[in-house]
Amino acid sequence: MLLPEPYNETVRACFHDAAHAGELSRDYPQKCASAVAESAQGAQIALAAGIDAGIVREMRFRVWGCPHLIAATEWLCGQLESGPAAAMENFPLQEIMRQLSVPVEKTGRILLLEDALKSLTRQWSRTD
């Protein structure tokens, strides 16, 4: 019998096919970006959003970190893209923990993603 898989299928899919990794592909009426880093594990997240008429037209990210953090960031970008920019104000912590089966000891890394999104949202609020 194998030990439980450390990564579920969603993590594996988001990790291997990080479709939202990279930079915004074009200019937008509203663009915001954030970058956060964590000293203990050295994790880093950069987020960028291209917004037009209150809709997130494009979400992009860059991450240095563990598979759960990479997958969580990809998953979040997928959730926010094409939706209302106001949705960025609600970080779906529980949903991420559940969807990606994030081990509780990695909660801190997911909270780093929340910091990145909050920073992005603050910028958007200022420019909206």
Binding site: R12, A21, G22, A46, R62, V63, W64, P67
Partner: protein, 396 residues
């Protein structure tokens, strides 16, 4: 994981050679040598004969006499018995001991336990290639030094220490010299009758034998002895009591015979695989090889990738089974203390991967590993923040 695993973790444990497994299986049947070798009846004597044959086979591989071999459960127990047993035996002469920061935990933890019990331990640091200079050892030795323990082949990097030269320094001063040879026995030629080594630890499962059996070699010379750490029925001259596991001992004996017979062939095979791996890795920029260019066992290749996170690298490598330089899935994310002692910074140490391969590894396995490693490094660098995507600024 959907693809078949590609096993490149031979330094952790090797697959058991089918010839070893067959011999062991024969011991476990009703017709086999299953009896307690301490029993004096005919079945016990048959088992004892088999144990004696295995001891002789292992001794032959090591270039020593069979009566110098004490069976243990593996290298960890052998290291404990050698280090703690010798330190206690010679404690009346002095309590200073010397070892290296890059030793296996079976050694470092034993020294740490002795330190807590009144012994004074000097921990030596290797140079950037992982090697210990004889001058460094000489400088550490004191009037009251009783034991020096330096591993032969490092389990993480494959770096080979010059145990002949280091042992000679100890022999000149009547200091016991122990070496943890778990990674070298059966893989590199050893002739203990011609080496200044007093105590040597080994385990079968690193050279295609079974897990659960190892041995301690104790040289025959004045002052070279160990005190037992466990007590019981007096087996193994009272040094390591307990009923001997005949099938495991048969396994290590057969593994030793096979190793003696095909060591050069095995060495050529792993050297060729290493060449293939190094050549393929050469296409990937900003890699650091963690070894000593001219003093490394060819079956281990440890490499760090600047700008890449260790746990993600391991997932990207799947289905290749290799060892990571970081404690994956832990909250600490602690990087390898061995690589840190080499002088690597934390980021490079935690991005390290140890590929280790051997007798059953094929060229196709190496190709697959190269393909996965290249994909993983490129992928992780591509999605990293710009500061990390440029490995010249890789430290997070």
């Amino acid at each position: 994981m959907t693809s078949a695993p590609v096993y490149l973790d031979y330094a952790a444990t090797t697959p058991t050679d089918p010839r070893v497994a067959e011999a062991m299986h024969a011991c476990l049947t009703g017709e086999g040598a299953f009896a307690n070798p301490s029993s004096i009846h005919v079945a016990g004597r048959a088992s004892a004969a088999l144990v004696a044959r295995a001891r002789a086979r292992l001794a032959s591989l090591l270039g020593t006499d069979a009566n110098r071999i004490t069976w243990t459960s593996g290298a960890t127990e052998a290291n404990n018995l050698a280090i703690a047993g010798a330190a206690k035996f010679r404690a009346h002469r002095g309590k200073h001991l010397v070892t290296m920061l890059t030793e296996h935990k079976a050694v470092t933890a034993t020294f740490a336990a002795l330190e807590k019990n009144g012994f004074d331990v000097t921990w030596l640091r290797p140079d950037a290639d992982g090697l210990l200079s004889p001058a460094e050892l000489q400088a550490a030795i004191r009037e009251d030094t009783q034991l020096v323990s330096i591993m032969h082949v490092n389990n993480e990097t494959g770096v080979i220490q010059d145990i002949r030269q280091l042992g000679a320094i100890c022999r000149e001063r009547d200091i016991l010299f122990h070496t943890d040879a778990a990674q070298s026995v059966g893989k590199l030629p050893l002739n203990l009758d011609d080496l200044p080594v007093d105590l040597l630890s080994l385990t079968a499962h690193k050279f295609y034998g079974p897990q659960g059996i190892g041995a301690l070699y104790i040289a025959e010379r004045p002052g070279c002895h160990v005190l037992p750490l466990t007590f019981g029925g007096g087996q193994e001259r009272g040094l390591r009591p307990g009923t001997l596991p005949v099938h495991l001992i048969e396994g290590i004996g057969v593994a030793a015979s096979i190793a003696a017979g095909q060591m050069q062939e095995d060495l050529q095979h792993v050297a060729s695989l290493r060449q293939q791996l190094c050549s393929g890795l050469g296409d990937i920029p900003h890699l650091v090889r963690n070894d000593a260019p001219n003093n490394t066992y060819p079956g281990i290749l440890n490499v760090s990738a600047a700008g890449v996170e260790g746990e993600s690298l391991m997932l990207g490598l799947e289905p290749v089974c290799a060892a990571s330089g970081s404690a994956c899935n832990s909250t600490s994310g602690e990087s390898s203390y061995v690589l840190r002692a080499h002088g690597l910074d934390d980021a490079l140490a935690q991005s390290a991967v140890r590929f280790s391969f051997g007798r059953m590894t094929s060229s196709a396995d190496i190709d697959r590993a190269l393909e996965r490693y290249q994909w993983a490094v490129n992928h992780l660098r591509a999605i990293a923040p710009i500061v990390n995507a440029n490995p010249c600024n890789a430290s997070p």
